[in-house]
Amino acid sequence: VLKRVKALADALGARRDLDVEIELLEMLADEVADEDRAALTALLDELHAARLLANERLAPFVAEKRMKKLRERLRKLAGSAAA
């Protein structure tokens, strides 16, 4: 169960990292010099594309069937600890 939870956390973390990067750049965008705006836009485009790819990589980890199985395993684990 721990291995599965870790795999899910890693997949979500990789996806979240891109959100954080995009959020940071967008927050600082107004302060960037005019001559650097095109480069910033290009970088943001790259990150948005990477995020789409990360969404595809994440999808199998959060698929309904897989999540249901994980919930059942966790419930069973909690039950065995309480017994």
């Binding site: 940071l24 910033l40 970088l43």
Partner: protein, 139 residues
């Protein structure tokens, strides 16, 4: 960084005693990393300190019913550290990616310096308030 193994846990023992062992181990980790992370360019140790603060915070949250207000104060302090060091780490991740954007690199460098100063002030402030020592005594 891999979490340090908690020694002496007893699966059939009293929850509070076990929780205290976990908290003590996580607190020791945080102190050891933070003391070495107080140099401006110690990026890896600052990241390790963030992870250690996160682990301490979550352990204190999970076992909040076992402890008193000293633990709550430590949890809040760990959360503040985690936040400042998280923002600092975001700068470290982003800086190599913006080398070709000079004005953005300069903004990120300035932001990193500001966040580093905040981290040092926060760490020293919590130490002088006795936050970690109080948590340790309460365990």
């Amino acid at each position: 960084v891999k979490a340090r193994k908690v020694e002496g846990l007893d699966p059939r023992g009293i929850l509070r005693a076990n929780a205290a062992r976990v908290v003590r181990t996580r607190l020791d980790e945080l102190r050891e990393f933070a003391d070495r992370a107080l140099a401006p360019d110690a990026a890896t140790l600052q990241h390790d300190t963030r992870i250690a603060a996160k682990r301490l915070r979550y352990v204190l949250e999970i076992f909040s019913t076992c402890f008193d207000e000293e633990a709550e104060a430590a949890r809040r302090a760990a959360k503040r550290l985690q936040s400042v060091l998280g923002d600092l780490h975001d700068c470290d991740i982003m800086l190599p990616k913006v080398e070709r954007i000079p004005s953005l690199a300069a903004i990120l460098h300035a932001r990193r310096e500001r966040l580093f100063r905040q981290f040092v002030e926060l760490w020293q402030s919590e130490a002088s308030k006795g936050t970690w020592a109080a948590l340790e005594r309460s365990l």
